[in-house]
Symmetry: C2
Subunit: 148 residues, 2 copies
């Protein structure tokens, strides 16, 4: 269910467009995010690379990517930080992270729910909401079917 053809993407260009320098590692890192459809933790990133990389460099690259609107944090239920590609509406100037995430506890696949609206509830009265963090953990369709 890939939404893109890797051959058609200029990863260096993506970095440049987001004001990030094109180091060999960062090109491979952004390619990894486009290749893996689910969100990635630092350890998963290192495991997926074919060369040794310092964990610190991964953290710094991820922070730079996040700062410049390329990826965003997707915390899981255990308070561990994962990262996922931003939607198209994210830009250098403005992160739109006010959407919910579906996190499959089996395969770690992350789905962004873009049409999520905060439900109006009685107890919300008067509260001004600046920021959302919504994680719905469960089983994605693929993982449900693999159990049958």
């Amino acid at each position: 269910m890939k939404l893109f053809d890797k051959k058609n993407i200029d990863f260096g260009m993506i970095l440049t467009q987001h004001g990030l320098s094109k180091t060999s590692f960062r090109k491979i890192l952004i390619e990894l995010f486009y290749t893996k459809k689910y969100s990635l933790s630092v350890d998963e990133i290192i495991t997926n690379l074919s060369f040794p990389i310092d964990k610190v460099s991964v953290y710094r690259a991820l922070n730079a990517f996040e700062k410049n609107g390329l990826i965003h944090k997707v915390p899981d239920m255990a308070n561990l930080i994962r990262y996922a590609l931003c939607q198209s509406e994210c830009s250098f100037e403005k992160h739109l992270h006010n959407h919910a995430h579906l996190l499959c506890s089996n395969c770690n696949e992350t789905y962004c729910i873009n049409d999520f609206k905060i439900p109006v509830v009685n107890e919300c009265k008067g509260f001004i909401i600046d920021n959302l963090k919504i994680i719905l953990e469960g089983s994605c369709v693929d993982c449900q079917q693999s159990y049958k």
Copy 2:
């Protein structure tokens, strides 16, 4: 806006009812949760106590309280762990944590939203949700008024 009169509560009884031993510290800890209306972090708990207590003992007591359905974790936007009293529907056997939290970024007050329903969104189709983590961060009514 206290929902109880501290004098009428037997905190030792609450511990016993949840299968927790009645040490002097734990009685004071549970009383603190009933006294403070907002959620508490480990550091806030220690600050609020009038006697020295080892941080490890706080962690262990909180873990025991959580395990036995007395309190539950309320993570904030910065992935720091806070604890809040469980609602009445929580019990030793079953934690019902599938509710959202409003977290005031000014005063740290936490409100549990019990009538929160997962909105039906297109992208949820087929996903079986086992667990929710929903934090809405913003300004509570009191803090909005204090800015006026």
